[in-house]
Symmetry: C2
Subunit: 319 residues, 2 copies
């Protein structure tokens, strides 16, 4: 087993002209699953797409909007002739969903997912599907909306997709999944599931936790009404409400699953907040000014690296 | 002095056809001052606009881009024949700026400002300009960008502008300032400075404090590099960096000036965060799910009331 620096290794190789997969099955047709369906249609139109969702209403919508070629009645039926199965369900449901289709999964199929936590998910997949080619994945992309009608084909454009295969996973399977994501406009990157979980704890899970908390705090005050909070939200608060409108089931599962890393990052955040609180209480303007200047530079780098809109105010329309 | 429910009263009256002011002076030509200049030009083109900024480089830019009719060399010269003077400087600089122009201010001129804290600012203005018509104002609008070139004419469209005149302020002066903001596309609302400071502590100051903190926390980790934080910021973190890129001087002054209300709201936030931390540690999924469902409703109201973009992801382009 090769050692990897900081748990990170680049995924090499250009894709060639052959499609990495010909028959793709999506289990779970929410924001990410339905974006995948649209993105595959747009970039690999000859791929045969099969979909399944545990919710009959979602399946009905998928049929009505012609999201995939076939909507199956069970996870097993959906997987039966796939060469790639992607589980697009909340992280707490990935293990059970994998177990449900295990008996029907073709021997040479590759299994992947799109979950926001990787160590626990990798364990659950390995347990449900022993001996199978498993390449867990996490496209770092999304919006605050949910459901099969919220997806769109360009969601993964310019985004990173982190792959966390176990050491010893068939290299061809890893490269095929990497190429699949490249075709959708994303850039694949391999790291260990443990390192992924720490990185995402700070870039995604902690921000969501903070946003959910402040929106909760603001809606429970006595001296400021909820109407006032909504009315004057353009002062900054509204930014947090977007993230805090994300899917409750998905995020409950994330916090329960990536508990250790989230609690560690939260501990650091609380320390820093206490120190800022102290600076305000004692009127230490220089300390505040220094921090506020440093944080500005981070924003600049994010915009320079194409990870956010260069336009002011996220490019919100001001008409 | 009439009692006001929760410190809030509507500003009545339609504007009529006469312009509320004919000669407007802007002291401070940053994002808000320069947006005001552009908005006045767009909506009240016959108004004579004079500008001043303490920074010679900003004055030079203002001349070059023809932001106003006249760029003055001192605050006093700028105020000398104004019928409205608006101080658009960081809240810590409002008192000194008012004192600087006091001797040159015409007797019948109305003085206003755009500061994010109102109780301390109202006191500073009353002290520097005794006996004058003072109508402190706070347009709840802005972006993360700064400087005379960052402003734009539609910044105040559909936003609220809070006026906090002392009881006993000439009602005509209040109504003229209210009408001025209506012409710029904003909706004026009157409340006490103390109530304003509590409302904005939660809808604006606390969100900024939290954003600055988390961006600081994320950039100081050992096990996750700054490069990784930037790279994977689309998972949620990038939203916070926008707010944390706001003007450092402005925000240092806000936290030092509205200290009591900010510390109180911060205390509540920390309590709520500790309780969520506990729920995660003990695996209380239902508690998380309940909060995450409640916060979603707040977002919906903000969008319904036109205080944010209805498009997913703030309408960011995904190309």
């Amino acid at each position: 087993m090769p050692r990897r620096h900081r748990g990170v290794a680049p995924v090499g190789g250009a894709g060639g002209l052959m499609l990495p997969f010909a028959r793709v099955t999506l289990i779970g047709l929410g924001l990410i699953g339905s974006s995948l369906a649209r993105a595959v249609r747009a970039t690999m139109p000859t791929v045969r797409l099969t979909g399944y969702d545990a919710d009959p209403a979602v399946r009905e919508t998928a049929v009505r909007i012609e999201l995939v070629d076939d909507v199956a009645d069970s996870a097993g039926t959906a997987a039966i002739d796939a060469d790639l199965v992607i589980l697009c369900v909340p992280v707490g449901a990935i293990g059970p969903a994998a177990a449900e289709l295990a008996d029907d999964l073709p021997a040479d199929a590759v299994v992947s997912d799109v979950g926001s936590c990787k160590a626990a998910v990798a364990r659950a997949l390995a347990e449900a599907l022993p001996g199978r080619a498993i390449v867990p994945a996490h496209p770092v992309a999304g919006t605050e909306q949910s459901g099969p009608e919220a997806g769109f084909a360009t969601l993964f454009h310019g985004r990173w997709c982190i792959l966390t295969p176990e050491a010893g996973t068939d290299a061809t399977a890893v490269e095929r999944v990497a190429e699949f994501w490249r075709r959708l406009g994303a850039t694949p990157e391999v790291m260990t599931p443990e390192h992924h979980d720490r990185v995402l704890a700070v870039t995604s899970h902690l921000p969501h936790l903070i946003a959910y908390t402040i929106v909760g705090t603001a809606s429970d005050l006595e001296e400021v009404t909820r109407g006032e909070v909504i009315k004057y939200s353009a002062g900054g608060f509204r930014d947090f409400t977007r993230i805090a409108a994300s899917d409750p089931t998905m995020w409950r599962d994330v916090f329960l699953t990536n508990r250790e890393a989230v609690l560690e990052m939260l501990g650091r955040f609380s320390e820093d907040l206490a120190s800022l609180q102290r600076a305000i209480r004692w009127g230490k303007g220089d300390e505040l000014f220094d921090l506020f200047t440093r944080t500005r530079a981070i924003r600049r780098s994010i915009v320079e690296q194409g990870q956010d809109d260069p336009a002011a105010d996220f490019g919100r329309s001001h008409e």
